[in-house]
């Protein structure tokens, strides 16, 4: 059976998480650990790339809700990119687009952090 994988890359001061497979109540703890590690190392500029994610349930969305306040308080953000339409629909149904930056390409999400950095 297809599983779930989360892989971390860095682009300057932006941490990128690539998600792969299915993100549900069974695999959400893996994503939580990945976020916890970023926070432990004070990496608050985070882009999550959904290109290879094929399924998400609300248990997966809960992870993004759980960390966003803490990360924003520390001057960072979680930006989401490259969702398949089926995945975007779930975020959309629950109102995420008004509270989270959701971009169609990873580069655009990364650029948002860099633009913000130049302005400050």
């Amino acid at each position: 059976m297809e599983g779930f994988e989360v892989n971390k890359r860095d682009n300057d001061n932006v941490a990128i998480l690539n998600l792969k497979g299915y993100l549900d109540a069974h695999t959400a703890p893996d994503l939580e650990s990945a976020f916890q590690q970023l926070i432990d190392t004070k990496s608050y500029n985070i882009v999550v790339n959904f290109a290879d994610l094929s399924y998400i349930s609300s248990a997966g969305l809960g992870v993004f809700m759980g960390f966003i306040e803490d990360i924003r308080k520390n001057g960072g953000d979680i930006k989401l990119s490259s969702m398949k339409p089926k995945i975007y629909r779930v975020f959309d149904l629950l109102g995420f687009p008004t509270l989270y930056d959701i971009l169609d390409e990873e580069e655009k999400a990364v650029a948002k952090f860099k633009d913000a950095g130049e302005q400050s």
């Binding site: 299915y22 069974h26 349930s57 609300s58 306040e69 779930v90 149904l93 109102g95 008004t98 509270l99």
Partner: protein, 146 residues
């Protein structure tokens, strides 16, 4: 090999332990049945997600003291609809007083949940609860053929 709308009622039932590693199995089964009886991929994936949410709730909330109890997924298909009932024998809940907070509110309150029942209601055409704590708690969901 072509799928046809069923002429008379068909019943499928799946019972398995309330453990999160069974969610993928349940989704697989449900989406295959939905496709087989004539729903398109888009509708099937809505049904799949709604059932995942209901089963996730059984795993997380119904049996807080003891994992590995039974999740019962019953699917009935007739000429104009698919009806799925997800049942547990756990502690139950009151669907009328469950807090369905909106996203901003949940985030402010530091709650990471509260989205499952909202999704179920949005994804399915009809949702109905029958709660008898310790005996039988049911979420009944209906999707009509379009």
């Amino acid at each position: 090999m072509v799928s046809h709308l069923p002429e008379k009622q068909k019943t499928y039932q799946l019972k398995l332990p309330s453990q999160s590693d069974n969610l993928a199995l349940i989704r697989d089964m449900v989406s295959k049945i939905a496709t087989q009886v004539g729903f398109d991929n888009d509708e099937s994936s809505k049904i799949e997600l709604a059932v995942d949410e209901a089963c996730t709730n059984v795993i997380r909330h119904a049996y807080p003291q003891s994992p590995g109890q039974v999740i019962d997924v019953l699917i009935k298909v007739d000429a104009n609809k698919l009806m799925i009932t997800v049942s547990d024998k756990g502690k139950g809940f009151n669907p009328d007083t469950v807090k369905v907070s909106d996203l901003a509110e949940s985030i402010r309150a530091g709650r990471r949940g509260g989205l499952g029942l909202r999704l179920i209601k949005t994804l399915m055409d009809k949702v109905d609860f029958q709660i008898q704590p310790g005996t039988k708690n049911q979420v009944k969901m209906v999707k009509y053929f379009s």
